[in-house]
């Protein structure tokens, strides 16, 4: 909306009176005392002014025109001439306004309102679409500092209205380049932003929007700016300029804040107007200038108030803005942020029309950020709230797809089956049928998967997944061990799709089928042919490994080794690389060619210096040298490898090398107790050297931790690792006290931040075993925070879980134990984590889950030992809690019958078994059980023995 000119009359009564008085005096002086005409003219002027004030511009103009026709010209009539132009302008008679202002300029070339008159003429030209003239006049005004900003703004408006956007932009850039210091400059910036959008200049738009929002204090009409900001965002969004759109939406105010801010602005505007009025009352000389400001403020306040009132009647804009924000975040690859916004929309605005879109957007974003479980929950919510919603089909499909994403094939199968039934017309039926087959395949339901794929072929003979389905039928047959059928299907696929996506894999799978049929010669031939056909295929490493397997199986060991070596070099995954490398090594070892083992790993180190297997390879070089009898060389290679890496706590295999070094030192010392733990140390062919203290030997090779303590030439981690090596020496020499002492020193003499992952875990365990839980926590926490990818992370999960369990923070304990077993690869602590989880579940009285966990522990052969005894005992406890005393008793009896070595559990099991008999009313059997406990000499000092005696006495008395 254009600024309305209102020069001359004002709301200020003092000023008006002063002006009227001055002009009226002039008019009164113009006539002879007898005529009375002067008095008439003065009255006419007063009336015109009153009419102007009342907003009756037509009458005011007519009276002023009449007055100026009749009155003799005088300089004193300057206000009347100017007011006449203003009256015409305000009465929208722009042609006459131009004439009147021009007349004013002719008569008063240096008058106080000359600039205002030019401004009025320019505005009148603009309003009558005389763009060229308006532009020229604004151009003149621009040089006058008083009018510069307004002139530039209106000049730009003129050009924009005339379709000259480039000129408008140029003018507005001139207006805004010096900074946004005035409200009119802010308006100019806003207009400029609009023009940038139209031009598609996103960068400049965003920059400008940011600047505008940095100067919000100068903006009076926040609603207008907010609307514009959102509109700019929409325009940018439509042009796929999502970054810019997002900037706009982020800059937009939500409803509550906008209303509050706008009310504050209105108060401020009113205050400004009151202040201007006060100034005008005090200093009438400023009337001309202030009247403009005051009138403009009055108009702006009225307009803004109306906008606010209308705005308050409208539904909230906040959900709309949030929806736009969420979409923009999504499009700019800020998927997590889009989840945040969609979720906020869902939580804060449960009843809005945008809910369906928000819910769907949330599902898509969650799926994108790999949050399948949450996505699944919202899919269900969507289908419950919007069964026939516009995205119901897509959500139905996603319900199964996200379950697949979560590797929950069972749920995926259920969901896809449900959706295929409930949405028979779904456009995604083809995809769902295909994925249903995949879900069954993933579960190992091969027959059902094949049946599903065949249903697909029948229902969608020209479906989009037809090639995949045919390939998968073959794959399913292969996985289910139907090699003959698999081969037929693979041949069928290759014939139908000779250049298909899965041809190379199919040919490899054909070779696999032949390998299964022990057709090793054919496998070798096929693999060679495959290599010729698909030279640079990523699968080459795998194919060469298969070829090597076939050669090995047909006793062509040299050929196999060559193929394995080529395989690890060509491998694109660590899995294939390690498989082939170590398979080659095993073949060398089998032939006793330890020199070739060393060569193999040295070659690997040269080939793959950045591989994570690097230090393992060094270990094997040392090991191979030792087997070759080159003990000194082995020690030197190992020592060099250790020294190069000892100061880097991230090199987790250093500890493996240290263990090897300890073994080599023990071997050299001839201490002879390398024992069962020194399995990698070969027997030496050379004569036994004179005994050497392995500790001294170790110090000589690596440096002494004690001697270097406090010196700057050895880092803390290096000293700690040497201590660890000493502990390993002690372990190998079966000196548990010394081993424990060295590990205890690790825990006490070093800060957590000085240790490597394994040492943190060992130190934490040591402290925990001494009930120093707070100190232990620091070590575990350091391991957890600083080495989240460590292979020894299970120490932290297990330790922190145990500490939480001891503190009865059961939820936290369960969290650690569950994550430790499910979310990370638990190497050394899997048994302890599973036992911990089971104990926690039992403590939480989640009997069924606890039972499953204890059964799992008891079932693992490799874990046989105390944990099995404990699990059996706990399974008895679970049955006892259920009041199933007979079942409980079976478990307790199994403990003292089958696990007699674990005395604490045997003692407890006797007691609980006897108690079970008592509960079952079998007093005699109970008494026998107590007696059996007491007969066991090894249990004589246990508290349970005393208790058994008491119970026995009680039973005897009762009988």
């Amino acid at each position: 909306m254009l600024f309305r000119l209102s020069r001359g009359p004002s709301l200020n009564p003092v000023t008006i009176v002063a002006l009227i008085a001055a002009t009226a005096t002039t008019l009164a002086q113009q006539s002879s005392p007898s005529s009375g005409a002067g008095s008439d003219l003065a009255q006419l002027y007063s009336r015109a002014i009153a009419e102007f004030q009342a907003g009756d511009y037509a009458k005011a103009a007519a009276d002023l025109d009449g007055l100026l026709t009749r009155a003799e010209f005088s300089q004193q009539l300057e206000p009347a001439f100017f007011t006449l132009g203003s009256a015409y302008f305000n009465g929208a008679d722009y042609k006459k306004a131009i004439d009147a202002f021009k007349k004013y300029q002719a008569k008063f070339p240096n008058g106080p309102h000359t600039g205002d008159a030019t401004f009025g003429i320019a505005q009148a030209n603009l309003l009558t679409k005389n763009y060229a003239e308006a532009a020229a006049q604004f151009g003149v005004l621009e040089k006058d500092q008083r009018y510069r900003d307004q002139a530039l703004f209106f000049a730009a408006t003129t050009n924009r209205d005339a379709g000259k956007n480039a000129q408008a932009i140029s003018i507005l850039e001139k207006l805004t380049v010096t900074g946004l210091k005035t409200p009119i400059a802010l308006r100019g910036a806003t207009l400029l932003a609009q023009l940038y959008v139209e031009k598609g200049d996103a960068d400049k738009t965003i920059g400008l929007i940011k600047k505008i929002h940095e100067r919000l204090s100068l903006v009076d009409n926040m609603i207008e700016l907010n609307t514009l900001t959102v509109r700019l965002g929409d325009q940018l969004f439509e042009k796929n300029l999502y970054d810019g759109a997002l900037e706009c939406y982020l800059a937009a105010y939500p409803r509550e804040l906008l209303i509050q801010t706008q009310n504050d602005r209105l108060t401020r505007m009113q205050q400004r107007m009151d202040d201007q009025l006060a100034v005008a009352r005090r200093d009438p000389a400023q009337f001309g200038q202030l009247a403009t400001v005051i009138n403009q403020l009055k108009i702006d306040i009225a307009r803004t108030r109306k906008l606010l009132t209308d705005f308050e009647k409208l539904p909230s804009i906040t959900p709309g803005i949030y929806l736009r924000m969420a979409r923009s975040y999504y499009e700019t690859d800020h998927k997590w942020e889009s989840v945040v916004v969609y979720q906020e929309l869902m939580d804060r605005f449960p009843q809005i029309p945008e809910r369906e879109s928000a819910l769907f957007g949330l599902i898509v974003s969650l799926a994108e950020v790999n949050q399948p479980k949450k996505a699944q929950t919202f899919c269900e919510q969507y289908l419950s709230e919007f069964k026939t919603g516009p995205n119901a089909e897509a959500v139905g499909y996603m319900l199964g797809a996200v379950a697949l994403q979560a590797n929950d094939a069972q749920t995926a199968e259920t969901r896809f089956a449900q959706m295929l039934e409930s949405q028979p017309e779904s456009k995604l039926r083809d995809q769902m049928r295909y994925l249903l087959g995949n879900a069954k395949f993933m579960q190992g339901k091969y027959d059902e998967a094949i049946a599903e794929y065949r249903s697909y072929l029948k229902e969608f003979p020209n479906g989009q997944n037809i090639e995949d389905v045919k390939y998968r039928i073959a794959l399913t047959a292969l996985f289910s061990g139907n090699y003959r059928q698999a081969m037929d299907e693979l041949h069928g696929y290759i014939k139908k799709y000779p250049h298909g996506h899965w041809v190379s894999d199919s040919k490899y799978r054909l070779a696999v089928c032949k390998y299964a049929a022990s057709l090793y010669t054919e496998v070798i031939t096929d693999c060679n042919a495959w290599e010729n056909e698909f030279k640079n295929d990523r699968q080459l490493g795998e194919v060469l490994a298969l070829r090597a397997d076939a050669s090995a199986a047909s006793d062509q060991v040299s050929d196999a080794i060559d193929a394995y070596v080529r395989s690890y070099k060509a491998a694109t995954t660590d899995e294939v690389m390690n498989y082939s490398l170590f398979a080659a090594s095993k073949l060398f070892q089998k032939r006793g060619e330890w020199d070739r083992v060393a060569e193999l790993f040295q070659g690997f180190i040269e080939n793959k210096p950045d591989s994570p297997t690097f230090l393992s390879a060094l270990y094997w070089v040392g090991n191979a040298k030792a087997h070759e009898g080159k003990l000194e060389e082995a020690r030197q290679i190992t020592a060099d490898a250790i020294k190069k890496n000892i100061a880097d706590p991230r090199r987790e295999k250093v500890e493996l090398l240290l263990t090897q070094m300890a073994q080599l030192c023990v071997k050299k010392s001839g201490a002879g107790h390398a024992g069962a733990n020194a399995e990698h140390v070969p027997s030496e062919g050379s004569p036994t050297p004179p005994p050497v203290d392995p500790n001294v030997d170790l110090d000589a090779l690596l440096g002494s931790a004690e001697k270097n303590e406090g010196k700057g030439d050895q880092s803390a981690i290096a000293r700690a690792r040497i201590l660890f090596a000493k502990a390993e020496l002690a372990r190998l020499r079966r000196q548990p006290a010394e081993e424990e002492g060295n590990i205890a020193r690790l825990a006490e003499a070093f800060k957590p931040e000085e240790l490597s992952p394994l040492l943190l875990g060992r130190a934490g365990d040591n402290l925990l075993s001494k009930q120093k839980t707070d100190q232990a926590t620091r070590f575990y926490q350091r391991l957890m925070d600083e080495f989240p990818k460590s292979e020894f992370l299970d120490f932290a999960y297990c330790g922190l879980g145990e500490i939480a369990l001891q503190k009865r923070s059961l939820t936290e304990a369960l969290h650690y134990f569950s994550d430790g077993t499910e979310k990370i690869h638990a190497g050394q602590k899997m048994k302890d984590l599973t036992v911990g989880k089971a104990k926690t579940l039992l403590a939480m009285n989640k009997l069924e889950e606890a039972q499953k966990a204890f059964e799992q522990v008891a079932a693992v052969r490799e874990w046989r030992g105390e944990s099995t005894a404990f699990s059996m005992y706990s399974l008895g406890e679970i049955e006892a809690k259920r009041g199933h005393w007979a079942e409980a008793n079976i478990y307790f009896q199994r403990v003292y019958v089958a696990y007699r070595k674990f005395l604490p559990w045997v003692a407890k099991a006797y007691m609980r078994s006897a108690e079970s008999f008592e509960k079952l009313g079998k007093q005699k059997e109970a008494a026998n059980t107590y007696r059996e406990l007491l007969r066991n000499d090894k249990l004589a000092d246990f508290a349970e023995a005393a208790e058994a005696r008491k119970r026995l006495e009680a039973l005897d008395e009762g009988s």
């Binding site: 924000m325 942020e337 989840v339 945040v340 950020v369 991230r650 969290h815």
Partner: protein, 280 residues
């Protein structure tokens, strides 16, 4: 009301200057009866709050019982912003030097509405936390909670307790404080802090996905709360890394360092970057 004569003396003048060092400008007592008394300075005398008033050309003191007073209009002490600024820049010692005199000055008026004690003490709690003087911080927090009547101030102070609870692994209590603030507060700075603390709790519980969503509330909805952005960025970067998104973690950390180079979090971000680099 008690009126005492006021004698101009050197000691009196010094007292006057000291008083205004932390409370520049007029201090007006608003009585529950509606009367407003403009004073030239205030002091506590037992049950009475004494205000120095102009009496003709001289001055005197008027005293009111605290329960008679609806509010005292104190101007906001500049030290609040200064201390917060130092804290953000990782200079807790300087922050303490700024805030401590303010806490001491307002201590006698702490139960009176309008006194800045609670706000100043709340900042001091954060400063003490930064100095690892958590026991003192907790004592002060409990003292604040006894006196505050404004629910937003109470929420803000309780949020400061959340940090200690996280360290003590009292996660449920900490989460409850955050959730209360999130559901009840209308103050964007409190909301921003609550979301960060909630992120901290969830991160400590290794609930990475939810932690990330909590941290991201701050840049998404409260980006004007600059004080909290570094914490939110650092938290979200840490979670990205835990979620195996090293690229996004690195970008977030670099953004943090570029935007808030003098913040404590920027220094921490450097070591996080090093950590990520080490694992490449």
């Amino acid at each position: 009301m008690t009126i005492t004569a006021y004698h101009k003396s050197a000691a009196g003048l010094l007292c006057f200057i000291a008083l205004f060092a932390y409370s520049a400008g007029a201090q007006s007592i608003i009585l529950k009866a509606g009367q407003k008394i403009d004073t030239l300075g205030l002091r506590r005398d037992g049950d009475l709050i004494m205000g120095k008033v102009q009496v003709g050309t001289g001055s005197g003191e008027v005293g009111y019982k605290a329960e008679q007073i609806a509010k005292i209009e104190f101007p906001e002490p500049r030290a609040l912003k200064a201390a917060t600024g130092f804290l953000t820049q990782g200079q807790p010692e300087k922050a303490l030097a700024e805030i401590d005199p303010v806490v001491r000055y307002y201590e006698p008026f702490k139960e009176v509405a309008g006194a800045w004690w609670a706000q100043a003490a709340a900042i001091k709690v954060s400063v003490l936390a930064a100095l690892h003087r958590e026991v003192e911080g907790e004592t002060l927090t409990n003292e604040i909670l006894k006196t505050v009547t404004d629910p937003e101030t109470a929420r803000s102070v309780q949020l400061r307790l959340a940090g200690g609870l996280i360290r003590k692994k009292e996660f449920e209590k900490a989460i409850a404080i955050c959730n209360t603030a999130i559901s009840q507060s209308g103050d964007t700075s409190i909301l921003a802090e609550a979301w960060i603390k909630k992120g901290d709790v969830l991160l400590a519980q290794r609930q990475f996905d939810d932690a990330l969503l909590a941290y991201l509330h701050v840049p998404v909805f409260y980006s004007d709360e600059k004080e909290f952005l570094p914490g939110a960025l650092l938290g979200s970067a840490r979670v990205y890394w835990r979620l195996d998104d090293a690229k996004r973690a690195t970008k977030t950390l670099n953004d943090l360092i570029a935007a808030y180079p003098r913040s404590v979090e920027a220094a921490l971000a450097q070591s996080e970057l090093q950590k990520i680099d080490n694992h490449k």
